[in-house]
Symmetry: C2
Subunit: 234 residues, 2 copies
DNA sequence: TCCGATAATTAGTCTAGGCTAATTCGGTCC
DNA sequence: GGACCGAATTAGCCTAGACTAATTATCGGA
């Protein structure tokens, strides 16, 4: 297991984040996500390809090899364990810990990571609801839908808040949209793009824009199908 | 407060470590301590001098400015708080945590450091007994002597184990030489370089070499003076 | 006073990982 | 089929912080 630089780790993580299923990712998308120029990406992809961590077909994008995927999942694991620790042990706000975890994930030794993992009880989910890969890189797969895709009458449980900026996470938290919260869709007005929800027994009215990134698990036996905007009848 | 790179922080720390009292430090000593070549040191000192963190008189060594000293003490504080955390919260072995703290001290945000400091109860000493500077950079000064300097009959309390390699710390720990332990000098045979000590009521026989770096606070009313190798009479 | 040993500095390279400017490729549209 | 457009790559540069080799300053002793 060859040591990777911080940049290399960041690139692998980015490829994984943009294509968790192993699809090819375009140079420009990586550049955008990492905040670097496209030539820098091409350059680093060449390096990672030489190390057999990605397969890079010029002008057709890059995809992770099995080894690259393993390393990427390792970083995801580190990140999520650290976030859990920062929230549960240090008492930091979960809307706030991303940046710290982002730095620390590259610099914590396996020994310290192991001790932290033990301390927080080997969690399977981080504070935003994201699953934590195990040491072998296996991720529990879940069937999640964007909350905005639910139809009227659906019941669901919030499972993940996909990384977003701090104010948005803060907003969701205030609205009660936290992992584990129960949600019921009261009304959907597609033309107005307005959703009326009950979140933990409180009424929330919002546009679909405000729900972007809230992923839910649909509860069995909703009155209507979970897909599509749904009709008007109860 | 201008951000410093990791290397800059390391150089400042090294200057402080080699001259806590503010004396000038030779290029070669810094090179040796940091494991870099002397030209690298000259180079970095020029940079730090430009930032007014050290005063560098060519061929006469470098000394910290007030600002440089403040930054150095900040790193010392970070390091020691982290070591305390790694031992007390994560349960790692105190002979073992130096390297981890050495890396993390550069990458932990003030927010996380503050939370860790709170969690461990704002300690004044790290696990090796070193005093932890407060936020304003003040260090509690103590009067410490090397254990090997004590005369026969002296009583003292172990206060610090100055950074050494892991096996040596491990050895001291096994011998009971830990911060807070009481020591009584039973016999000193300067010609043989042999010390016989009672450490926490257990007998320890060792050469002065094996005591290098063990710093103690002498207890009031020892039968003989604490300085010098001492005579042969009780 | 001058000489030599030793420490320090200067000069010039190297690597990682960025950047901009210029070029090339591949797909789309006429 | 050819021209064009945008994305990607190549070419060339920059900075931090290392390095080695060459040069210079300083200090102690004869």
């Amino acid at each position: 297991m060859q040591a990777l630089t911080r940049s290399e780790q960041d690139y692998l993580k980015a490829v994984y984040a943009l294509a968790p299923g192993g699809e090819a990712v375009a140079t420009s998308r990586l550049a955008e996500r990492l905040g670097v120029s496209p030539p820098s990406v091409t350059n680093m992809l060449a390096k990672l390809a030489a190390a057999r961590l990605v397969a890079h077909t010029p002008r057709a994008g890059a995809r992770l090899t099995a080894r690259g995927r393993k390393r990427a999942l390792e970083m995801v694991r580190r990140h999520r364990i650290l976030e859990t620790f920062l929230v549960r042990v240090l008492g930091l706000d979960w809307a706030d810990v991303h940046a710290d975890a982002e730095v620390l994930e590259h610099h914590i030794s396996d020994r310290v990571l192991g001790a932290i993992d033990r301390l927080v009880g080997h969690p399977h989910e981080d504070p935003h609801g994201h699953p934590i890969p195990d040491r072998r890189g296996r991720v529990r797969r879940r069937v999640l839908l964007p909350l905005a895709k639910l139809g009227r009458g659906s019941r669901a449980v919030v499972r993940e808040l996909r990384d977003a900026d701090r104010p948005r996470l803060e907003h969701w938290k205030n609205a009660g949209l936290v992992p584990g919260a129960e949600v019921r869709v009261r009304q959907v007005r597609p033309l107005d793009d307005v959703f009326e929800l009950d979140v933990a027994h409180r009424r929330l009215v919002t546009g679909s824009e405000g729900l972007e990134g809230v992923m839910v698990e649909v509860q069995k036996g909703p009155p209507r199908g979970a897909h599509g905007p749904g009709g008007r009848a109860a």
